[in-house]
Amino acid sequence: MDLDLKKLTKDLVKIVGKENAFTDKPTALTYAKDTMPWDVEEHNMPYAVVRPSNSQEIAHVLRYANEKKIPVHTHGSGTSLVGLGRPKTHCIVLDTGRMKELEVFPERGYFEVGAGYHIAKLRKALEPYNALLPAFPGSELVATIGGVVSVNTSAHAVDASLFKPGDYVLGMEVVLPTGEILQTGTESPRKPAGIEATKFLVGSEGLLCVICKIRMRLIPLPQIQNIVAYYNSTDDILDTVMNMYSQGIPTPMFFEYLDEKSSKVGFEAVGLEPPPGAVAMMAMHSQTKAGCEEKAKIFLEFLQSGHPIEAKIVTDKKEWNQIWSSRAEAGNYLYRLGSTFGSEITVRADKLKEAFHEAQDIILNLDSYKGNEFYSFGHIGAPTIHAYAFIPTKDIPNETKIAVAKEVREKTEALNIKYGGCGGEWGLTAQRATFLKRKYGEAYYDLLVKLKNALDPNNILNRGNLEGWM
Amino acid sequence: MKRSKKLVSQALAILKDNLDREGDPLGFRKPYWTEWADGLNLPTEGEQVLLTARMYQMLPYITQITDLVATAKPLLAIKGLDKVMSQGNRMAGETLIRLKARGLKELKQKGARILKGIVGALHKVGVQPAYLYEAEPYSGVLLYDLGLEDGIVPHIQGVYELLKSRGVERVITVDPHTTNMMREIYPKYIENYPIKVKHYLEVLSERAESLEKLEAGQTPESFVIHDPCVMTRDLGIVEQARRIGSALGIKIVEPENTKLDTACCGGPVEYAFAHLTHQISGIRIGELARLNPNILVTCPICLINLRRYEKERDLRVWDMGEILPEKKASP
């Protein structure tokens, strides 16, 4: 496309102001580079970056974009693990970073927050109100509430306990791709039943609207009791999770595991003795202290059926912080010391063990690379396994990185299909567009394309994500 | 963002030129850095010296120059800087830029009080370093921070040779930037660098029991403390200021973002991007002012950047040196 960059700059400055429109290459680059490890290419570079402060400015940008037929790519934090964040074609990047207002209305039972608010900061800001923020991404220092709600992910939590963040969304202020501003949902603590827009705009991955403001209910922070359990092998943990579902045991808020190798590196990294095998950590939650103590007692008894070497409630805060942080440290170890290619395997509860072993087999027998290692950890109670191919060096060619990432992804996604699951943390477009087609079929995909066309006839918003472009 | 390249390159050129010619970043030949010590009769020779590296003494002159530049229109600012600095350069051999505003004279006195406080406290705990007076060098830190490593190697070597020739084995520094320069950077360019470097906070903290509680009414009872970035994250000097405060009998309040997590005052980029510096210092002053109108700092850069809010926000920024017992001039 022949674009007059000077004119574009002038036009965008008119909409958002001189301080909030950027067409220089260094800025463009930092918005093009997302979490994916491969290099930014020419076609990923945006023409411009705009930083609006409200829905009116966004509406104006979108109307302009539709008129000029220039795509617009939304930017929260660029930390999507399926590549949603990277622009797939030359575009205007719309950064939500300046939309950071927060208003808490305890008397109404909700708070309203701008899409650009970072999760960790939001959690802290809600503390004085004793309110729960039901989203726990590992990237929370920089991930935005807009991103979390547009993908509708709780990240690390067990869905059966905490459901999805979308379930807590009472309404939103959004801008449709053609520039109309829409107020959805309700101001009452009771959500509307029926065909209401919040339901299909939450989780729409930036394809159907730009989220500006989110209204979420205020839920009191639960009380927590923590349990750690040591096992001889990951298999015992898998059996435990499968039994937890089949026996209808009340589920924890968090249920994490580290396999034999990951637990060793994680524990050593936090200064603890390496455990004998695999490790599981749970956060038993309830609205009352008595409730979570009772729940922990019941769960501890239940755990015995999985034959742990030891399972105990941990009340000492320092001890728990150490154990809990071994999870993040295991991940850090992998990322620091080499190249890591991950997956998200979330399958039918009774197929968990089979899926795990098949994943292990796949990762240890890749076509695109020989000699990598297998590590796994994750939110096993959700149930989600993050199975990793680990190559202990960063010095591998760009093409190999892409090839390994693609192979790991494709084959583990096939497991999701084979065993009735779909993943539960990351979006379904961008690098998962192929999976989306395979999982739900061409008819559903065509329906999505039609829906996209209906709301976005010029394919302005996040063009390339539904298509699965790189 | 506009003309950033020209701004930075001019600043670099002027600073380097000044350093090469006069060994001073401001290009002054007349030893403005010794006036604070008039009448103190500090020994001029010794294996342990106090190294101010001229940092506190530079403050009023830097303020005057940056204020001059800031008042000029953006377009003129570049040309203005040229003019002012080359004027300074020409005058360097003759006389100092006269400090015009009263506020700047006060800043000069404040710097002197700070240094006299540091010396006074050191004497109180039984440490009597020498002071090189006119021979005292500048460490080169500003140019190093701007990336001119190779360019200042001659200066670094010169400073080391000077200290060596004076028999200096130990150095007590008064600001974190110089400390970092002398302790961490110099050894990279000088083989078997033998000089032991300690910041005065470290020296005082080790001997804190010899410090006396301040008399009531001498200073405010409590301060909110602002840790300099370099002090905590580069040098790991964190608890010393608290220990000294405790020995002096003052209460120290910790702000949001403190100790190893301290938030920057914005100072390091003021030479070129004053607007950004103001935005950053504005954020920090808010975090501090929320807790206490008396702010305690231990760095001349932090001092100069945070004290700009004193009037508008009814605050007072104190350097640690100001609350230490002052070394008075001999009668």
């Binding site: 290459k25 800025t27 580079k33 930083r51 990322y335 | 390159s9 001119l148 997590d261 950053i280």
Partner: protein, 115 residues
């Protein structure tokens, strides 16, 4: 990092920046990011990427690039969090090394647009 020649510096820079895994923990803590209301190029992560793509020849040594690299305060807040939660990279030292490559050119007043 004991680097002498220009080529040494470039190699070191590319190697160090390659360690970054884009976790972005260093973004929010940067005072310039906070002051600019969250502009990605005014962050530790942004600056690392800018250095990389400058060395790869994608970016030029122009005014916007100078501004991003020389506006770093060298305050090490990013390193603090990178060492505890991220990749343990000496981010400020890398930016400083990048500057040292450029400062010479700025001083000489030459306009080598691409490194």
């Amino acid at each position: 990092m004991d680097v002498n020649t220009r080529q040494d510096k470039i190699e070191t820079l590319l190697k160090e920046v390659a360690k970054c895994r884009s976790c972005r923990f260093c973004v929010d803590v940067c005072p310039t990011y906070q002051a600019s209301e969250g502009l990605e190029s005014m962050s530790a992560y942004g600056r690392l990427q800018i250095i990389k793509y400058l060395l790869m020849g994608v970016l030029s040594f122009d005014d916007p690039l100078t501004y991003t690299l020389y506006s770093c305060l060298q305050c090490r807040r990013c390193e603090n969090i990178c060492k505890s939660k991220g990749q343990n990279i000496d981010i400020c030292s890398i930016i400083q090394l990048g500057r040292s490559l450029l400062s010479r050119e700025l001083l000489e007043g030459s306009g080598h647009e691409k490194i």
